[in-house]
Symmetry: C2
Subunit: 223 residues, 2 copies
């Protein structure tokens, strides 16, 4: 059975057949993305600001300088949206109108909660670092007290979230099917390109750890 939208404002109205409201579908999309867009309003103007994020259980974690407009605005508890989109392919149709994209997207709405507790704050930082490279947290220096003070970490609960997914070929009109033009899907994916670029200050011979190799394995183009 298809799950229902958690709220009216997360309900997908256009192409409802593309909607997913179950947490495994939502989590899988969030866990495959590196960047979200935070939507919030400043002096009547909506902004969409890109930032790295991580899903940590039932919440989305973002962070930023405690001095930034974004974190200061969001920490006041104003309504926020978190939008995540993965582009999977270009959909080439036989008619101009039916060109499209294959994608997986999630929109979360709600409020951001600043994480104040030290233990929880370190756990949230851990989630952000582990999102980039699983296994990396054990290898790098943990945040200092000063760093924790100057960093605001915010959690947005996944209570009100919906996903939308388009897959498959173009949907052309019957009368266009005989048109002599290629139609179909060009699959896209974010991939690790070429070799990792070592930091200029890295001692010669420093090996990629299993954390970095794990990322490359996942993101390198498959032959």
């Amino acid at each position: 059975m298809r799950e229902a939208a958690p709220s009216d404002r997360t309900k997908v109205h256009r192409h409802p057949e593309r909607a997913r409201y179950d947490r495994p579908s939502i989590d899988a999309i969030l866990d495959d993305a590196y960047v979200c867009h935070l939507g919030f309003r400043v002096e009547g103007q909506p902004f969409g600001i890109p930032t790295m994020f991580a899903r940590d259980g039932d919440r989305v974690i973002v962070h930023g300088s405690a001095a930034s407009r974004m974190t200061k605005t969001l920490a006041t508890g104003v309504p926020v949206s978190v939008a995540v989109t993965l582009l999977d392919g270009l959909v080439l149709a036989r008619s101009a109108t039916h060109h499209s994209m294959n994608y997986r997207s999630v929109v979360v709405v709600g409020h951001a909660q600043p994480i104040e507790d030290r233990v929880d704050k370190v756990a949230a930082m851990r989630a952000l670092v582990e999102r980039i490279a699983p296994g990396r947290w054990e290898r790098v220096r943990e945040p200092s007290d000063a760093e924790l003070r100057s960093t605001t970490i915010l959690a947005v609960p996944l209570d009100e979230a919906s996903a939308k997914v388009r897959t498959g070929p173009p949907v052309d009109d019957e009368e266009d099917l005989s048109r002599d033009v290629w139609a179909g899907v060009l699959p896209l994916a974010p991939t690790a390109m070429g070799e990792p670029i070592p930091d200029p200050g890295l001692p010669a011979g420093t090996h990629l750890g299993s954390d970095v190799r794990g990322v490359l394995e996942r993101l390198r183009p498959k032959p």
Copy 2:
């Protein structure tokens, strides 16, 4: 000389050295992306909705069903933001806090104008199709009157836009440089994966046109 922000609300405050306000920088980022996030408010709640777009001269073009909440809301002239983000790399530092991403992003703020004039509307549709595959417009069926009526096309002028770009290695603290861990950048790019998937209804032997081959050439991983 570095250009000034076009307005206070497009000014980049955090890491101002990453800001770009000149149109060539902004245009290059927009022209390299397929998806934007539209930020707008519905009943007090900000939303960030992903959608395909194209830059057409001094404006960003988006479209949607004339019946959708998004196009109906935006056509009333409410404040909107257009956010575009390209992820270029994962930045692995020696300390948790300095992990980052290399990216190029643009945020446009303003109002969306519905394009009503038929000639301009077709030109905007052309920009959307040509963005997906240059040269494709001449090969596909043009929009019918009925399709144009049921599609709302919106233009957001580039008058108030700013870009933010991070490049280069991690910025670690002096005292962490001797830490025995790999640090550097893992470059990422969206690439065309594997073979194009022909539409199931395509007659056998339909060749990829030069339009499709052009896209693949640009997006295939370089050896």
